[in-house]
């Protein structure tokens, strides 16, 4: 099975052209093709994971298959290859599972959309790219699929291309990611310049002994720009909240399994590069930590259900990046996995709500619990998991991160992380109390979604509950002996940390109940009282505005200046040369009187002059 692992991305990749060229007209068939393809991938992924266990494939002894893709003898060898280790195997499972559920869900959600077939083809390509990225055995291939993931996100975010906002969001996502890719590309160029290879395994052997850490640090910092963009870390996070312009299943896919996970996954893949550079690790940790806090504060003040979830994703990604930064790749990947399940669930739940109400503002919802029991209860489970209440999945993984930060001596980050946990619980339950309980506002009635939508919700809800157990101290640290860097290490259960984070989460939920759980004017008052802070939060710290200003004023301004320069200065000079010729010709033509006699006069004048000139030397003597 593991030999044929390369088929995992190939199934959905083949589904893409099949849907585009063949089954486009037959909508349900298109969906069937896409689902069948991803289901096949899922089965393969399960098989691969099983064989990884059975064959004893470990992080140190990965399985690698490669075929040459592009070669220039002696200079460049680029392989199309797959690398399977526990890390990849886990990711494959998560991606295929989430993608499968999202696709099933989409059959219901996208029902009746004119772009139904294209939607499934894009989803297939998206999954294929992400799976290719997971399997890649070298930087080049990972970049290759990295970009394709970016492309698919562009297509899917901008799926409702008739909406300006969607088209703009797609563009924004792609361009922001491009900036990050630029850094990533430079990073692995540096690596290639130093080591002459892109292959992860060869690099892993070469990097630890490398002396010139200055260059290495530069390369690592540049590579890190990639995840900053893909995983929406500050300051390249601006695309993610706008990405909700896409259909909601896409948001689920992007936020859970594919797009944003790619960045964290890259960090894990390239962990050997970072691990040898404490300075860069610190940078990674603080970028992650800052992003976690920064976006959690923004989430507190948002009203749009998908926007809240988007900022929550950013915040959780910040956690994962922070985990990487403090040196615990295991914790980061663990959280990535559990987060994938409950975040997918949250988005799909939100999609179910939006599907029913055609409304995204939580303050126009209310009392939805009564109308949509399945959606609401699964949503609450996911929220509890996100808030980190034991024994749900989120608790274990978040706890692992906090414990890692604490144990590795990053007390500041630990405190920050705990604060974020509080904020997370608060904003999630603000959402829940406002949207699902209380009175119906604006007279909107929900109705439960069809089975194709609720079944994935239920499956994900189960996973959100149980997925954490693979990594609990009570299950002999299954996850951390499986996916790790260096030595398999597990954090000893730190009951103080566990207790504190549970308390903090409960405090967050409690505060949310106090403020939003019953009719109250306290939130209003607070907003008025701290108007400046509130405005800052609502406007997301004006980061978008600053970027827009930079783009409009600086980039476009400079471009206009260049354009003017090109049209007037450069062209002016060259056209000036042309004009000079033409004008001088125009003036000189007046010498042409057109009168024959004048011409003859000139001719004979010239004859006389030439004759005199030629005869001048001999005018004195006799000509022989």
């Amino acid at each position: 099975m593991i030999k044929y692992a390369w088929l995992i991305p190939v199934f959905p990749a083949v589904a893409f052209p099949i849907i585009i060229f063949l089954t486009r007209k037959v909508r349900l068939l298109s969906a069937l093709v896409a689902i069948a393809a991803i289901a096949a991938s899922f089965v393969m992924a399960v098989g691969v994971l099983r064989e990884v266990f059975l064959l004893g494939v470990t992080m140190e002894k990965p399985v690698e298959y490669a075929a040459p893709w592009l070669q220039i003898p002696g200079l460049l060898k680029i392989e199309a290859g797959i690398l399977i280790d526990p890390l990849a195997a886990v990711m494959l499972l998560v991606v295929t599972l989430v993608a499968l559920l999202v696709e099933i869900y989409s059959v219901g959600y996208m029902h009746g959309d004119p772009g139904f077939s294209s939607f499934f083809s894009y989803l297939s390509l998206f999954s294929a790219s992400m799976l290719g990225l997971v399997l890649a055995n070298n930087y080049f291939m990972i970049f290759f699929f990295w970009e394709l993931v970016g492309l698919c996100s562009y297509l899917l975010i901008g799926f409702y291309y008739h909406k300006h906002s969607a088209a703009r969001a797609g563009l924004k996502a792609f361009v922001t990611n491009r900036v990050a890719d630029f850094g990533f590309m430079l990073g692995f160029f540096f690596l290639f310049a130093m080591f002459g290879t892109f292959n992860f395994r060869e690099l892993a052997e070469a990097i630890p002994g490398y002396q010139n850490t200055g260059f290495l640090a530069l390369a690592a910092a540049l590579v890190f720009i990639g995840p900053i963009g893909k995983s929406a870390q500050f300051p390249l996070h601006v695309w993610l909240p706008d990405a909700m312009e896409g259909p909601t299943p896409v948001s689920a896919l992007i936020h859970a399994a594919t797009m944003v996970a790619a960045g964290v996954y890259l960090l894990a893949r390239a962990f050997v590069l970072f691990a040898s550079l404490p300075g860069i690790m610190l940078l990674v940790a603080y970028v992650g930590g800052f992003t976690a806090l920064f976006s959690a504060t923004i989430a507190v003040a948002q009203r749009d259900i998908k926007r809240i979830l988007a900022y929550s994703t950013m915040s959780q990604l910040g956690y994962m990046v922070m985990a990487m930064g403090v040196g615990s790749m295991t914790a980061g990947m663990f959280h990535l996995m559990t987060h994938a399940f409950f975040k997918a669930l949250l988005f799909l739940g939100a999609g179910s709500v939006i599907h029913a109400l055609e409304e995204q503002d939580i303050f126009r919802m209310g009392g939805l619990y009564k109308d949509m029991k399945v959606t609401a209860s699964t949503f609450i489970i996911a929220a509890l998991a996100l808030a980190g209440l034991p024994p749900l999945a989120g608790f274990w993984s978040k706890d692992e991160i906090l414990a890692a930060a604490f144990d590795h001596g990053f007390t500041g980050l630990y405190i920050l992380g705990t604060l974020v946990a509080f904020l997370t619980a608060f904003y999630m339950f603000r959402l829940i109390f406002v949207a699902f309980f209380g009175n119906r506002r604006a007279g909107l009635h929900g109705h439960e979604s069809p089975l194709t939508m609720t079944i994935p919700l239920l499956i994900l809800a189960v996973l959100s509950v149980v997925a954490g157990f693979v990594g609990t101290p009570f299950a002999s640290h299954g996850f951390s002996t499986f996916v790790y860097y260096g030595e398999p290490h597990h954090v000893e259960p730190n009951y103080a940390v566990m207790l504190l984070s549970t308390l903090v989460a409960l405090a967050g939920i409690g505060l949310a109940w106090l403020l939003y759980g019953r009719p109250s004017d306290v939130p209003e008052k607070l907003a008025t009282r701290y108007r400046s802070i509130y405005t800052l939060l609502v406007n997301k710290f004006y980061i978008d505005e600053i970027y827009m200003w930079l783009f409009r004023r600086v980039v476009l301004g400079l471009s206009e200046a260049f354009n003017w320069h090109d049209r007037h200065v450069v062209d002016g000079i060259f056209d000036g040369v042309g004009d000079l010729t033409r004008i001088s010709g125009q003036k000189l033509r007046f010498l042409q009187t057109g009168n024959l006699q004048t011409y003859a006069l000139v001719i004979f004048t010239a004859v006389v002059i030439i004759a005199l000139w030629m005869a001048a030397p001999v005018l004195g003597g006799v000509i022989q």
Binding site: R589, Q592, T593, G594, N595, Q597, A600, L601
Partner: protein, 102 residues
């Protein structure tokens, strides 16, 4: 004693008078007359060279005859042109003609 140089000087003078006529007259017919003068001057030179330098042969005279032939043709065509132009422009003044202009 009349030498070759006398003839050449005469030819030269006649040529220059003809040239002056060709350059300075307005009437196209007068310009043609000037050209005839110039051709005659050339003929004088040719015959004189023949006479003084190569008396045994008649090459100069033959050339002169060719010149006369050409001159005759030229006059015929030239005058036809003048007539043609006159018919179109009712004018035979050359300096009003600037058809060669840009």
């Amino acid at each position: 004693m009349i030498t070759l140089n006398h003839y050449l000087a005469l030819g030269g003078l006649l040529f220059c008078i003809g040239l002056f006529g060709a350059l300075a007259k307005r009437n196209a017919v007068a310009v043609l007359m000037g050209i005839e003068l110039m051709l005659n001057a050339v003929n004088i030179n040719l015959v004189a060279f023949n006479h003084f330098l190569e008396p045994a042969r008649v090459t100069g005279q033959v050339f002169a005859i060719f010149v006369i032939v050409v001159a005759a043709a030229e006059v015929a065509v030239g005058l036809a042109l003048v007539l043609n132009i006159y018919r179109r422009r009712l004018d035979s003044n050359v300096d009003d003609l600037d058809w060669l202009r840009w």
